[in-house]
């Protein structure tokens, strides 16, 4: 059974539902209703021309909550011969309990079980993605096999938490484990410092994997696959009503574990967006309150270079802020190795530089100088426009080449929206705003947020793969802190 969106929430039903939910380990909330979502549409955003603003020509999805608490966003494209289903599982909800090692083992167990089931379905495929604060897996196949695909996912979410399977998956992950290179380790370290998480939440080391016992494996699976925190996105030629049997299966077979209570947060953005850290950094790279350089072990890269990664959180609560952050990253990317992960109200910006043994500060200084120079000079409009065209065009072309899967774009839209009602138009709004940006706006944004020595504080940095000699040289200029 599914619950349609409705006008009211009846709190007394929540209280009544708690006892059986706790006992049964699931969410019995058939009589509850979700607050309706009125997606922003053309009336609020102005006419959207998909060819101009480069957004899919989708219609607002139907939204429902399953009996097990999972939220479903169902997109319909009449006549599409393909079917896509994506399950978005947040990892940030239980960041203190859920480590990267447990998540890796749980996801591998899911892959083992799901792949075996999908092999029996023609043209069925599985893929796994990691985004800020969540992991998501998707199955793709033919629309005529939609029921079989939904059933495979429901069965897998129901039984991949089997202890034997989890132990097998742990062994396989361990066997394939290779110590991460300096860049991967520095990236994990930077995110853990910025979001105030443990390093083990971002990076699965070999000892972490070895130490996973049965209880921790099961807990990882239970926390990760808890439907009360998950969001399911479907792209099909048929409506949820037409595939009611499949929706029913997903709601009944996939159950929550015994941990936790309630039916989860009521909206997708609340479930999936990363929370801001309680104590954001107030430091700069050098400057008036210099950030200590966090040092991680790790092996230098193939050219024997260590890595320093510096970055910050950007407040991206409005479409303008998200767009400015993205276009600034694209412009910087032309000269430096700069990445941006947008996760709703906050985004993570990271800059990677290599550390030559002879002059360890040379590249860091050069990168900072370049960023400061860009922050003080307005870029020519054609350059800004070309960066926008490239970013927006590549997103749609990539989506087309990847099988025209709207669920991936919807997942990205969730990151670009502040609230659920914005998801529907988020891509179009981003495109429209990006194409109308003024170079002066970009310059002002960069001066405020992307100047590691001036501008707003919030910069931190992490180094990995340093030799003792290089560490000694670095320590002459900044405070080093073991992470």
């Amino acid at each position: 059974m599914t619950r349609p969106t409705g006008p009211t929430i009846r709190p007394w039903l929540v209280a009544l539902a708690l006892a059986p939910a706790w006992l049964g380990g699931g969410c019995n909330c058939k009589d509850q209703t979700l607050a309706p979502i009125v997606f922003d549409d053309d009336g609020q955003t102005g006419p959207i021309d998909p060819s101009r603003v480069l957004a899919p020509p989708w219609q607002a999805p139907s939204v429902m909550q399953l009996d097990n608490g999972a939220l479903v966003h169902w997109l319909v494209e009449p006549g599409d011969p393909a079917f896509h289903l994506r399950v978005l599982m947040p990892t940030s909800v239980h960041a203190d309990k859920l480590g990267a090692a447990g998540t890796s083992a749980a996801l591998h167990a899911l892959e083992l079980r799901l792949s075996a089931r999908l092999r029996r379905i023609e043209d069925a495929q599985y893929d796994l993605h990691s985004r800020a604060g969540r992991v998501e897996f998707a199955v793709h196949g033919r629309d005529r096999d939609a029921l079989a695909l939904i059933s495979a996912v429901a069965d897998t979410l129901a039984d991949a938490g089997d202890p034997k399977l989890l132990a097998l998956a742990q062994g396989k992950v361990l066997a394939k484990h290779r110590e991460a290179d300096a860049s991967a380790l520095a990236a994990a370290g930077l995110i853990s410092v910025l979001l105030d998480h443990r390093l083990s939440h971002e990076y699965a080391s070999k000892p972490d994997l070895v130490e996973l016992n049965r209880a921790r494996l099961e807990r990882s699976w239970t926390l990760l696959s808890d439907p009360r925190h998950c969001v399911v996105v479907v792209h099909s030629s048929r409506t949820a009503e037409e595939l009611g049997e499949g929706v029913e299966l997903l709601g009944s077979r996939w159950k929550a574990g015994v941990l936790g209570l309630g039916s989860g947060k009521p909206t997708a953005t609340q479930r999936l967006h990363v929370d801001s850290p309680k104590k954001p950094a107030e430091t700069w790279i050098f400057g008036e309150t210099p950030a200590p350089l966090h040092v991680l072990s790790g092996t230098p890269d193939r050219r024997n270079r260590a890595v320093i990664m510096f970055g910050r959180l950007l407040p991206t609560e409005s479409v303008e802020a998200r767009t400015l952050a993205r276009i600034s990253q694209r412009l910087l990317q032309e000269e430096l190795d700069v990445r941006l992960i947008v996760a709703g109200p906050i985004s993570v910006l990271a800059v990677r530089v290599y550390v030559p043994a002879g002059e360890p500060w040379a590249e860091v200084d050069a990168a900072i100088e370049r960023m400061q120079a860009m922050a003080t000079t307005a870029q020519p409009l054609p350059r800004v426009r070309q960066a926008a065209d490239l970013w927006l065009g590549a997103r749609m072309v990539d989506a087309s080449v990847s099988g025209e899967d709207w669920t991936a774009l919807w997942s990205e839209s969730i990151d670009l929206a502040q609230e659920d009602r914005e998801i529907f138009a988020a891509l179009a709004r981003e495109a429209q705003t990006m194409l109308e940006l003024d170079p002066e706006q970009v310059k002002a944004f960069q001066a405020k947020w992307l100047d590691p020595r001036g501008g707003e504080p919030g910069w931190v940095w992490v180094a990995s793969g340093l030799t003792a000699d290089v560490q000694a040289k670095l320590a002459l200029r900044v405070e080093l802190l073991e992470l």
Binding site: L54, P57, G79, G393, M396, V397, A399, S400, E404
Partner: protein
């Protein structure tokens, strides 16, 4: 006076030639649809512009992207004997710019807006493919409308083209080249066309220029555009880019048939001496057009699932493999457990004969209908994205009346893609993708009729593939040729051969 005469002469040269291939008018579209606007989603436009280039436009509105494919009907089989690899190298050279495009601009036009640009060089077709955001379609159309005009030619660019060509991976065909040559009766298929030897490096600029002009001509090219707009609007965007080319008739494109003809040798199947071949297979050249390609796959699926006949050896089995190519596909049927003294042909011929007369064998007809529905659904699924659709459409058969002024520009999706369809029956379209659920005597009768129609359509679509005389028998030169060649081939009425001979 002389000046006036010269002016007149130049004016007459510059005067537009009356178009032999007039562009389609909106009236024609309305006529085609019986007065109503053309249904964009299921119909496509297929026209020849006055300059001789063929344009196919189709709609795919799933995402705001557009696929543009320029396919030229020339391939590695056209390499001169002394210049193997020429077509491949020239195709690379067409990325080096023209009078209007800078070197590499064709690729950069797609890449700079987040798009993809690729090139495919096959035995009978060269394609320049791109997938771009729909908002950038005009820029890509300009590139394709300029690509073949006055290409830049100089020594440095030619050497660069050869260096790109040299770094390409060599092709490894699943079927030995000698066999492909024998099946297609075409010596030009004996090499992969990827060689870059000294002779190519020694070509003078004038020779490169002459070869480009001779081999890469818009009159032998098809431009396919698939985008979110309706086909007429897409065509309206294409037409101006070719308007300044002089009006010239389209080149006649020879149909891709073995030896250039559809005739079936009376003394086939022809043995093809080839080392290490066990003489257990027959190989057919499948006509290089979408309809034959689709039905060949239906036939292949049917052969692989067909039950043994009553008079066959107990362990007799057939294994069919289809090797796809837009212009030079092949069908290989391997026999197992056959009588060694007879060779594989009688067994294969008996099975094919049953398929050719499946109207009288309801279970076999049902199997054909099942395979037809399967291939139909496979093609619809595989061609759901614009780039795949555009590449496939580049292989679509040309209309014989394309250059006629009254030629109607619309063609149905099923026709242009060559989807395996049978005759319609009331209540069930010919494109019905799944076999019927049989839950009553009436449904059973209806299913029987559908199956019969599917069997008829198969025979009509690929008659050559049901006749073992049209195949070749690969056999090691050390082995004796089986004495009883084509002994079990079905009797064919003379008019059947005559009918095939006129098919494109």
């Amino acid at each position: 006076m002389l000046r006036a005469l010269l002016t007149l002469a130049i004016a007459s040269l510059l005067r537009p030639v009356p178009p032999s291939n007039p562009p389609p008018t909106e009236d024609a579209l309305v006529r085609e649809s019986g007065g109503a606007p053309v249904e964009a989603s299921s119909d496509m436009l297929d026209v020849v512009l006055p300059c001789g280039v063929r344009v196919i436009t189709a709609r795919d509105a799933s995402l705001p992207v557009a696929a543009v494919v320029l396919a030229v009907e020339v391939g590695t089989r056209d390499d001169p004997d002394k210049l193997p690899g020429l077509i491949h190298a020239l195709a690379y050279h067409l990325q080096q710019g023209t009078r209007e495009l800078g070197p590499g601009e064709a690729i950069a036009t797609a890449h700079d807006v987040g798009g993809l640009a690729a090139m495919a060089v096959g035995a009978g077709q060269v394609r320049f493919e791109s997938l771009i955001p729909a908002s950038q379609l005009d820029a890509q159309l300009r590139v394709e409308a300029q690509r073949l005009r006055a290409p830049n030619v100089n020594r440095a660019l030619w050497l660069k083209s050869l260096s790109y060509a040299r770094s390409d991976d060599r092709e490894r065909p699943l079927i030995p080249r000698e066999l492909i040559v024998a099946a297609w009766r075409d010596a030009g298929l004996g090499h992969d066309g990827r060689a870059v030897d000294k002779a190519l490096g020694d070509l003078l600029d004038q020779s490169v220029e002459a070869q480009l002009a001779k081999l890469f001509d818009y009159r032998a090219a098809t431009l396919v555009v698939v985008g979110p707009e309706d086909p007429q609007k897409l065509l309206d965007r294409v037409t101006p880019y070719f308007a300044d080319l002089p009006a010239r008739p389209r080149k006649t494109i020879a149909p891709a048939l073995p030896g250039g003809s559809n005739s079936i040798p009376a003394d086939g199947p022809m043995p093809a001496p080839l080392a290490k071949q066990k003489a257990d297979s027959l190989v057919w050249a499948v006509p290089g057009e979408p309809r034959a390609r689709a039905w060949a796959q239906v036939l292949c699926g049917t052969i692989n699932r067909q039950l043994a006949g009553p008079d066959e050896p107990a362990k007799a089995r057939l294994r069919c493999t289809y090797s796809d190519d837009p212009r030079r596909p092949l069908l290989v049927v391997r026999a197992l457990g056959f009588d060694a003294a007879e060779g594989p042909e009688p067994l294969i011929a008996r099975r094919l004969d049953r398929i050719a007369h499946a109207e009288g064998e309801p279970e076999l007809a049902a199997l054909i209908e099942n395979q037809r529905a399967r291939i139909f659904a496979d093609l619809e699924f595989d061609l759901r994205a614009p780039l795949e659709l555009a590449s496939y459409l580049a292989g679509a058969t040309e209309r014989r009346d394309a250059s006629q002024p009254d030629a109607l520009p619309t063609r149905s999706r099923a026709e242009l893609l060559g989807l395996p369809i049978r005759e319609e029956v009331p209540g069930l379209p010919a494109t019905h993708p799944v076999p019927l659920d049989i839950d009553s005597a009436e449904a059973l009768a209806e299913a029987g009729e559908l199956a019969r129609l599917a069997a008829v359509a198969l025979v009509e679509a690929v008659p050559r593939l049901l006749d073992t005389r049209a195949a070749v028998l690969p056999i090691d030169p050390e082995l004796p040729v089986p004495a009883k060649l084509h002994g079990g081939a079905p009797d064919r009425p003379a008019e059947a051969n005559a009918a095939e001979a006129v098919q494109p």
